[in-house]
Symmetry: C2
Subunit: 438 residues, 2 copies
Amino acid sequence: MNTEGDKPLKVAVLGCGVVGSQVVRLLGEQSGDLAARVGAPVEIAGVAVRRLDAPRDVDVPAGLLTTDALGLVTRGDIDVVVEVIGGIEPARSLILAALENGASVVTANKALLAEDGPTLYEAAEKAGRDLYYEAAVAGAIPIVRPLRESLAGDKVTRVLGIVNGTTNFILDKMDTQGSGFEEALEEAQALGYAEADPTADVEGFDAAAKAAILASLAFHSRVTAADVHREGISDVTSGDVRSATDMGCVVKLLAIAELNATESGEEAVSVRVHPAMIPRSHPLASVREAYNAVFVESEAAGQLMFYGPGAGGAPTASAVLGDLVSVARNHRQGTRGVGESAYADRAVLPMGETRTRYHVAIDVDDRAGVLAAVATAFATHDVSIQTVRQEGRGDDAQLVVVSHEATDAQLSATVEELRGMDTVREVTSVMRVEGTDE
Amino acid sequence: MNTEGDKPLKVAVLGCGVVGSQVVRLLGEQSGDLAARVGAPVEIAGVAVRRLDAPRDVDVPAGLLTTDALGLVTRGDIDVVVEVIGGIEPARSLILAALENGASVVTANKALLAEDGPTLYEAAEKAGRDLYYEAAVAGAIPIVRPLRESLAGDKVTRVLGIVNGTTNFILDKMDTQGSGFEEALEEAQALGYAEADPTADVEGFDAAAKAAILASLAFHSRVTAADVHREGISDVTSGDVRSATDMGCVVKLLAIAELNATESGEEAVSVRVHPAMIPRSHPLASVREAYNAVFVESEAAGQLMFYGPGAGGAPTASAVLGDLVSVARNHRQGTRGVGESAYADRAVLPMGETRTRYHVAIDVDDRAGVLAAVATAFATHDVSIQTVRQEGRGDDAQLVVVSHEATDAQLSATVEELRGMDTVREVTSVMRVEGTDE
């Protein structure tokens, strides 16, 4: 199979930050193993950085460093480009230039893939080169390859992912320590799990990008970040977390991609990111601290879960290097691995038509007829109630209602109506319930 | 890349039992998706069975059934052979004949791979064809592909697997219901989780085959079933399970493959199957009922876990079909996927040199000096004690000792010495402790 003898495989690394420096380190430390696994030595041909004199976590020979990333990827002798700069530009232009120049590409860039993946996939297809991105979703956890290869003979019906470590850390602290959101966020920031501006994590933007990529892979369709319904965790209260505990659940920020039926009976993709209550017996419930996990349901395999560190320099670099070995082998053999698969071309279901369950906590007047009025509000919108629990008396009276599955539109109309009712003082908590059998 | 137009890919299925019938069913039901993913229609060319008129779970057109498996694999037009007969012969001869005749092979045959994998890998290499076997370890759980592809840029240091559903079901019942071994086994048999003759599962033979395959993959070395130290669960008592609970642990049958240092300081592979106590906080501890999970530690990625159904017709068929899609794509392109990687060629460490920890429960005379005598026995063999707990008084006095890590030889010599001591009435339980930080 070796068409080029032991000619070294030349790798250009774009970016030498948290991930890039670990990629460079591992390329050095594992060079013997990598050569054996690829079938040829793997050589760093250059490392593109923003500033030559910036401090970095790894020693890079000065001769390899360059600020001219475009010059590096187009210089003609590069076999594989590893893009770990992140963000939309210049990453996109550099990847496109690399593919046009005959290099295969490994990237960890979730934002770019979620925003404009198809442009990149088409360029890779046209160039006859690989574009691999295991590191873009859930860090070190192998999930891209299992979805597009291991489950290629099966029909995936649902993916539930804890794909953001920052928010999982915060929710875990709220659950185990009884912290409020702000307090848990501060702890996450102090420990380096959350950034000074935590918006991308806390408001679900990071998870939404990953949800789009997972949905595309699982359902062989094109789903972009703009298709993802997104709600973050900043409104989750310690009361919500206690309510979850009361019903044997835990609150997690989930990236959900599932096949739902449209009103006309076709299969469409529902893709969303929001906090949800899941039963404590669910495998995802035991994912603690900043770990990630992706739970996959398919028709033949049943329930699978993939668990591990979802971020960090070395774990992400491990995923990048796994891709690098595959891509390098293909490159040497003049073949390609599995590329984009979008043949199913399924539509994305509007959030309103997505079928979920709601947990609703309502402060009510403690008087006869209140329960009947609340039940009527659910019935009016055709939402069936699974359980109602009354807590407290007098001014503290609260009803906790858990619905059966209904469309999100029916559920939110029900909550809207509850909010307008005389007997309802306040709807204190509304949260979706996922991962149950119904 | 398509070198043969839309010429159908012809598949021969050997065996139409629990797994084979599901493979045939899915090949029919998923034919549209499979064609899109492979790039050509996938056609069943024949199904080899022992008896044409046997009852089976799927309708196979009579014209496809044959009792001449060898004739089927050698007839010249077969692209891929799926072997789901199991056992050593005739499976081995059929796979070798298939490869010689230019077919690629997908197999679920753990026993054959663990006993004589190298013969098959060499035949595949010589023929320039693929030999894939995701279904051979942990059923539907993608673990072969992650180990040989996703982690190809990393250094795996340890694999801990719950890879036998029967024994996990039994141990889970002993833990959650307080059942004894016999009672839990009967429940497993009544529910179809254990066979009438449960030896292969209960005595760890099935897990040992999987341990050999996992060790070969993780450490790029050749490890066979004969290299695996094997102990089953038939001696695990409800007292052991209670002792585990007392120290915050749970008993699991683990398949363990890890890098240990030899006395001369080289890296060697320790591979073993035995019941062990693991902390309840360990991700493997929450694997319930007949589920499987494989926990992987690597230098860069850290801790990963892969969880799912480890057996059953449809889950195993899902893994077979995932391989089939990969193999079929390669076959059409005239390329091969990743084959055997045994370059590291590490030695297998004798069990006596393997470093583990022991939990030892000892019935002792309740008199002064007993603890000192027991501690001396440990010290004599250079085994450091982590904790000692005394339980009961008088005739019920019991010492529970948990050691630090030492070689298995030192630990078993210590237990031997304890058994010979005057003050020791009985060593009631000896179990290894795994999955802790030390």
